[in-house]
Symmetry: D2
Subunit: 473 residues, 4 copies
C-alpha cells in the first residue's frame, strides 16, 4: 500500500542504502593532531564512502565542524585542519545514492539541546526509523534531514535522563536495526554497536589517544594498535575518567554482515581476528573446489575479484593472469562522444589484454553479481577480445534478497537473482557457464561458525524484522 | 548575572544584530519564473544584506533550496535557477556579523514536521528568543542554528492546531520583538508583521502573481505594482483560494523603525507613502535650519549623506559639491602593503577631490555617527586635502542606545554617543564643529506623527521590553 | 578590399578597441611592497579596465607574473602577492570586447630574447600594427596573441642595438598610433608616450620609489606625489643610475584624447593641471548656457552625468536632483526571467524615483551618446515614471567618427551620430528635445587651447592617419 | 663551465625530464566528436602525464584550445568540449617537475606565422635545444616558454620553404634528440618520429577517422584499430588527399626506449607487436631464473611490480601473494600530522597485510630502483609487519646513467646505482638480498634483438650525444 502522505522535504527513504566509515578520537588533552588524525583515518576508510566527508572537533566549548561533498583529500585543506583544535574528534565518510547527495545529509550531525552539545556519526540503517520519526513528529519534532542520526538526536534530547550519556544509552534501547554509532558530547566520546553487531566497529590506541573506527586499517595509518572490537549490544564511554564499558540490552547475538568480508571491508583490515584478504582467497579456493569447470586462465574482475581469483587459481592449478587492466585515473565526470562506442562505460574503467584473452578458455572471477549489468558488459568485452570460452565464477551465493541493514543492494526487483536462476543469469550475462559459491562454501571460508553471520541477502533469513513499510509493499 | 551553562554550538547570541531582505512570491500555477523573480527581487534588496542569499521554491512536492555565502549575483548561476520550478518561492538576503557567518545560518530555513513542510524567512529580532529556546530545550527540542526562525519552526511543529496555517498564527502569538516573517508551506505563502510593525513588509502584484517583499524597490525591478503594506499585527495567507487577511493580536501600535528612513531602506523605495530619498532630503533641509554654521561648500559622505546634503545645500544656499569620490570597484578582500599608508582603509573606498576641498570651509554631511571611527578618518582625510574648516552635520540625532529590534547598532558601550556628548564627539572626530539633527527635526521630516515611529536608539524609549538577558547585564 | 588570408589564430583585429590602465614601480632595493603597491595602484585604475589584471615583478632574476580574468580584487590573493618580491614591478588592467577575452591576451606581456627578459604593458592602439605584424611574419616571426605589445617585443628582439634600452627606443621609432607604454627589463623600468600624447601617463614619487601610472589617482592611494606628466615623444628610463629622460622623435605635438576628460579618467585625477571633475562641471555650465531649454529639475544619468549635471543646474538655476538611483551591487552575470520585463537591462542598474520624476519637466544630463540604445531605455524608463517632459542634454558634441587611438567607440556605422542628425537622434531616443555641447563649448571647458586635444571622434580631424586596412574599407 | 648569462624567464632547463602522451585525430569532415575523441584518448594516456592536459581543434579557421593543470577529467567539462568543433584535433598530457608547472608550458603549443596557424604537441627531449634556442635568439627570436615545441615553431616559421608541411620537415632535420611530434596546421595533421624512434607513436583508424597516438590503448577506448607504428625518421601527413608518408633523414636506426617496456607504457598497450604486460611477465620469469634466492611468498610492489612478480612466482614455483595493498583514493595533497608517524608517505599509498608478511621469507618484486628512497621505506614497512626475510628482486638492471631522451631519471648523482654497487644498495634499502635482472635477461624478454633498444640508462651507451651543456658539467 502506497504511503499517501505528501513527500516530505526530508524524506526518510533517502537515508536508505548507505555504507559509511566512522572514526572517533579521544585525547587526554587538547591536541593539534585531533583533526589531522581524524583526517588520516577517514582517508584510510575512504573505500566505505566517497560521496562526502566531515570532521568535527571540540575542546569542551564550541563544536567546530568542516564538511563537504567529495573525497577526503578534496574536502579538507591544510588550513581547515590547522584551525581545528580539541581533545575529541569525530569523522565520517559516506556513500549515498544520487537523491540524497545534499549537504544537509553530510555527517557528523550536530545539534544542541538541554542535554548539551552533541555530534553523531552513524553507519548502518535503522529498521524502525519511520515509526520513530512518525512518533517524534506527532510529538512536535522538526526535521532537517532524512538521516537516522537526526532521529537519534531527538530521542536523546527528549530522554528523561538528565545525563547525556544515560540519555544516549536510553536512545539505543529505542532504536532497531543495524548501527555502529559514535557520539561526541562536550566531554566524552561514546561508541555503540547494535545488538546483532551487523556493522564493524573497533577500539584502538595510539600512545594516550583512544581511537574507535570502522576498520583496523584506520589504526594502521596512524601506527595505532587495535585493542578489541566493540561487542554487539555494547556501549563504551571514553572521557577523563578513562574507558567504561557496559551492555545496554540482553538479547544480543552476533550477526555480522558477511558482505563486509566478501566485498566491503578493505583487504588489509582484520575483522574477527581474520584478515579480510585471506578470507577472500579462501572463498576463491572453495569456489574452485565446487566449480566443475576447466579453463586455460583465471582472470579476476579488478579489483573486487583479485583475492578470490588468486585462491581459485591456486586451488585449481590454472594460471592466474590479470587479463583485464584497470584504469588508475577514473574521475567523477566522464564525457561521452556522440558516436556510439560499445561498452564505453566499462571500457573507461577496464581494458582487456587481448594477448591474455584471445583463444583462451577464460575463468572470470568476481566477488558477486548484483544487477548483472556490469558482468554482462565485461563478458561482452572479453568476447570482443576473442576469448574462446568465458566461464564466470562468483565467490559468493546469488544475491536474491534486499539488505535492510545498511548495504545498498537495491530494491529486490533490481537484484537479478531475485527473479532468475543461475542458468538464466548465465544466459543474461552471455557467459558459457556460471558458478556461484555455495552458502556453505562461503561460511567455511570464515573463521567463525554459521550462526555468527547475517546472510539474509542470500537466503532471506533476516535476523531482525525488516522495516514495517517494506513488509507492506 | 552571567549564564553559567556551557556555550552552546548554536548559541542564540549569534542571531543578534542582523538586518535582512525578504521576498515571497505566489503564482496560481507552476512557473519557470518563480525562482528568477525571487532572484531579481533579492538583487534589488541586496542593500539589506550582502553576507548570504538563499531561494527556496516548491510546487507542492519537495522543497528545492539553493543558498550560499556572498552576493546574490555570485550565489546563483543560471543553471541553479533553471532547475527550480514551482508556484511558490521564498528568498532571503542577510547581513551578519563575522561570528555567525556559517552556512547553517543562511535562510530560508527549511524543516519538515507533522504539520508538513515549512520554509521560513525572517527579518527582525525576537526579544524573547532566549526564553523560548530555553523552554523548548526543556521540552526536548534540538537546535541546529542560532536563528530566530528555528524557534518559530519549533513553535509551529508543537502547536496543538492541526492546520499549519493556524499553527503559524499561534506561534506568532508566542513570539515577542521585531519581525517581518514569510513562511512557505506545501500550498500557501504566509506573511506576518509584528504588532509594532518595526520592520517593513509590502504586498504587491504582477499580473496574477502576488509578491510580498521588504521594500517596494523589489516590485519595481519586476514591473510589479505595490498594493499596500502588511499592517502591524496582520497575517496574510495567499493560496489557491486567493488572499486572506487577519489580525492575530489586539494590542497593536505602529512603531516603525525610523532608521529605515534615515539609512537602511533604498532611496527609491516608498514607505508609508513617502519616498525615502525625499524624506532624507527633508532631514537635510531641517538640519540646515537648525545648524548655526557657515561654509563655502556642502560635501556629502558618499553615498549615505548625498540626499541630506542636497537638502542642506538647497536650504542653506551653499553650493553642493561632491568633494569626495567613491570607488566603484570595492571588493571583499583587500590586500594591505607593509609600509604604512595613512587612512588606507577609508582611502580605498573614498578619495577627496583637492580642488573642491582645498582652502574651503567644508560642511560635511552624513546620515549618522555610530562608533565615530569612519567620521574621524574622513575628517582626517579632508584635513590632508587642506580644507580650511570642517563642519560636520549629521541628519539624525546622536545614537545613544542599542537596538533590540533587528538593527546592528552594536553594544551600547561601542556607541560613541552613549558616553560622549556632541562637543566631545566633535573633538574626537577632529571637526571644527558638529551639528546633529534634533529628534523633532527628524520626525518633522516624515509624513507621519511622532507616535508612529520607534526612536529608541536616540532616546531609549523602547516600545517593547528588551530581552531579559540584556536587562540583567 | 577584403583580406584574403586565412583568419589567424592570433588575429590583430582582436586588439582593437581597448582602454587600459598601467602602473610601473621602481624601488632602489628589493621590497616586499612592490607587488602590493602595484596592486593598490591597479585597484585605483580599475575604471580603466575590468576585464583582466596582471602584475609582474623582478629582482633581476626570473620574472614573476600573476594574471587573471576579472577585477583586481578577484585576481590577486594575499598569498599571490606575498610570494612576489622584487625591486621593479609592472601592472596592467584591461577592458576588452568579448572576442579577445582570452588569457593569452592578458598583460603584462613577457618574453625573453637575446636582449634579456622583457615585460611590456600598453595602453593605446598602434595604427600600423598590421603592417608591422605582416612584415615581421615575412621575416619569420611567430605570434601567440593579437596584442600590440607582441609586435613591439619582436621589434625590440630584432633591433640591431645590443642594449635593450636602445632597442626599446628604436622600436618606438617604428610604431605609429597611440601608446603609453611601460617596459620592465632585468634592471630598468622604461616609460614612453607616443608623439601625440593621446593617452595619459604620469610620473610620481613615494619616498625613494618612482611610480609611473596612467592617472594621478594611482598616486593618491599610495600617498605618492605626482612629479610631472611624461611628455609626448618622451621616453624615461629609471634604474640604479636614477631617472634619465630623452625624446625619441622630433615631430611631436600634443593631441591628448579629449574623451579622457569627458568620460574616461577618474574624476579625482588631475590631468594637465586640471581636476577632471571640475572640467566636467564646466562642460555642464557651458552646456546650460548653450541649451535653450527650460525644466523643473536637472537629473543626471548616474554616474557618468553627475558632474556635468551639477554644473548645468548651478548655471541654469534649476534644482539638481538625483532622480535616478544606481544599484551598487551589479555583478558580472545577470539572470533573465522568461517573462518579458520592459527595460530590464537598464532597470537592473538604474531605478527612477517616481516622486522626483512624476509630472516634472526633466532635464536629463549625460556625458555622451554613442549608440543611443542606453539613452533610449533611460528616456523610456522616465516616461514610465510619468515625467511630463524629457529634455536630454549631453555635455559633449555628437560622436560621429570612430577612434583609432585606443577608445572603443565601435565601428562607424554603429555610432548613431554618424548617420543621424541631432533631431533624428532625439526622435530615436524618444526625448522631447536634445542638446549637445558644441565643440567650442567643450574646449572652452578645458584649461588648454584647441590645438592640444584630439577631437577626431567629433570632427573626423585625425591627427594621425587611420590604419591602412580601415582606409580601404 | 657554468653558463654566465642571467637566468631567463623561460629557461630551457625547465623542459627537461618530461614524459608526455599525445593524440592527433583527422576526420574527413567537421565533427562534433573530434574534441571528445581527443579527450577519451588523452584519458587512456593519463599514465603518461598527470600534471596538465590540453586539446586544440580546428576546422580550418581559428584554432580553439582548452588547457589546464590537472587530470584530464578535471581539466575538461562537457561544455568545453561541446563548443569545440573541427575536423582536426590535437591533444596532450604532460608530467613535469615542480619548477615548470606553469600554464605557459601546457601543450598543445599554438602560434601563427607567415606559414599559417600551427599547433604542436611533443613527447621527448631535444638534445640541441639550447644551441637552437641560442641561435634563434641571436637572430631576433622571442620566447614565451621553455618548451622544445617553441624552438620547433620558430624553425618552421623561419624556414625558406613556403609550404608549412615542407617547413615542418625541414625543421625536423634541424633538431636532435628524442621526439615524437604531432603538428596541426590549418588543413593537415602531421606526425613525426625522431631517427632513433626513442619514444612511441602509432597510427590507427576508426571508420574514416585517422588517429595518431602515443600508445595503442588510446585506440582501444575509441574502438579504433591500430594500423602500424610511425617509423623512426618517418613523417606522415594526413589531409584531404589522404595519408602520405616519407622519410626525412637517412641515418635512422631503431633505439626504442626500453623503459617504456619496463615501466612507462600501459600494460595493455602493444608495442612492436608485443603486449607490454607479457613482456614484463617475461622479465619476471628471467629474473627468477637469474636469482639465487629462496622464499615463501612473492609479493609485488603495487602496481609497478605486479606483472614481473607474477612471472617470477610462476617460474620459481613460489606462491604469488598481494601482500601490500594499494590505496585507491590517493589525492594530490596530503595533510601531515604533527606527531611523527613512521613511513607515513609510503603508508598513505601502501599498506602491508600482516597475515601474508609475518614470519615469511618475502621476495619483494619491483620494476626498478631509481633513488632508493621508496624501496627503503617499503622494506622498512615489511620489517614492521614482521617479515622473517626480505629479498628484493628488480626486473631491470641498475639505473646508473641519466636519460637525455625524455624520461625523468633525475640528475646522475641522485641515481643510487651511479655511486653504489648492488651490495651497497641492498644495505642502503635494508633488504636481506637484492637481485637485479641482467641486461641480457632484460633484452631476452623482448621480442626484438639487442640493437633495437636504447639501454643508455643502464650502460651509458648513448645512441646520440647528450646535450652540450651536460657534457661540459
Amino acid at each position: 500500500m502506497e504511503d499517501s502522505r505528501k513527500k516530505s522535504v526530508t524524506s526518510p527513504e533517502n537515508s536508505w542504502g548507505e555504507e559509511c566509515g566512522l572514526v572517533g578520537i579521544y585525547a587526554p588533552e587538547n591536541s593539534d593532531d585531533i583533526a589531522r588524525f581524524s583526517y588520516l583515518s577517514l582517508y584510510s576508510l575512504q573505500h566505505r564512502g566517497q560521496e562526502s566527508a566531515g570532521i568535527c572537533v571540540t575542546n569542551g566549548g564550541e563544536f567546530d565542524r568542516k564538511r563537504g561533498m567529495g573525497l577526503v583529500t578534496n574536502v579538507f585543506a591544510e588550513e581547515d585542519l590547522a584551525d581545528m583544535e580539541g581533545n575529541i574528534g569525530l569523522g565520517h565518510v559516506r556513500y549515498s545514492t544520487a537523491g540524497s547527495s545534499k549537504m544537509v545529509n553530510v555527517q557528523p550531525f550536530i545539534t544542541s539541546s538541554i542535554k548539551g552539545n552533541l555530534a553523531l556519526a552513524h553507519n548502518g540503517n535503522l529498521t524502525n526509523h519511520r515509526e520513530l520519526r512518525s512518533n517524534l513528529e506527532e510529538r512536535g519534532a522538526i526535521f532537517h534531514s532524512g538521516l537516522d542520526t537526526e532521529v537519534i538526536a531527538h530521542l536523546i534530547a527528549r530522554s528523561l535522563q538528565d545525563d547525556i550519556e544515560e540519555a544516549f544509552v536510553e536512545s539505543l534501547q529505542g532504536i532497531r536495526g543495524a548501527f555502529s554509532l559514535l557520539a561526541m558530547t562536550d566531554d566524552s566520546l561514546l561508541a555503540a554497536r547494535d545488538p546483532r553487531g551487523f556493522r564493524p566497529l573497533v577500539l584502538g590506541q595510539k600512545d594516550d589517544f583512544y581511537i574507535v573506527a570502522s576498520e583496523t586499517c584506520a589504526f594502521d595509518i596512524l601506527e595505532a594498535e587495535p585493542i578489541r572490537e566493540i561487542e554487539p549490544g555494547e556501549v563504551i564511554t571514553i572521557n577523563e575518567e578513562g574507558i567504561k564499558s557496559r551492555y545496554y540490552c540482553e538479547n544480543k547475538k552476533n550477526k555480522f554482515c558477511v558482505f563486509e568480508f566478501i566485498y566491503f571491508a578493505r583487504p588489509d583490515s582484520v575483522i574477527k581476528d581474520q584478515n579480510v584478504r585471506q578470507a577472500r582467497k579462501k572463498m576463491g579456493e572453495n569456489l574452485a573446489r565446487e566449480a566443475e569447470v576447466d579453463g586455460d586462465v583465471v582472470v579476476p574482475v579488478p579489483s573486487s575479484g583479485i583475492s578470490a581469483a588468486l585462491g581459485f587459481a591456486g586451488e585449481a592449478g590454472i594460471p592466474y593472469k590479470q587479463g583485464i587492466l584497470q584504469n588508475k585515473y577514473v574521475g567523477r565526470t566522464f564525457i561521452q562522444p556522440r558516436q556510439k562506442i560499445r561498452n564505453l562505460k566499462v571500457r573507461i574503467k577496464l581494458n582487456p589484454i587481448k594477448k591474455i584473452i584471445k583463444d583462451k578458455r577464460v575463468i572470470l572471477v568476481d566477488d558477486s553479481i548484483v544487477r548483472g549489468t556490469t558482468s554482462q558488459q565485461i563478458v561482452n568485452m572479453l568476447r570482443e577480445a576473442e576469448a574462446e570460452e568465458i566461464h564466470m565464477a562468483v565467490s559468493s551465493p546469488p544475491v536474491s534478497h534486499s539488505c535492510y541493514y545498511g548495504l545498498d543492494t537495491s530494491r529486490r526487483q533490481q537484484l537479478i537473482a531475485s527473479s532468475k536462476n543461475p542458468q538464466e543469469i548465465c544466459q543474461h550475462i552471455g557467459a558459457d557457464s556460471l558458478t556461484y559459491l555455495s552458502r556453505e562454501g562461503l561460511l567455511a571460508s570464515l573463521d567463525s561458525d554459521d550462526g555468527g553471520f547475517c546472510t539474509a541477502c542470500f537466503d532471506g533469513n533476516y535476523p531482525l524484522p525488516p522495516p514495517e513499510e517494506v513488509k507492506n509493499i
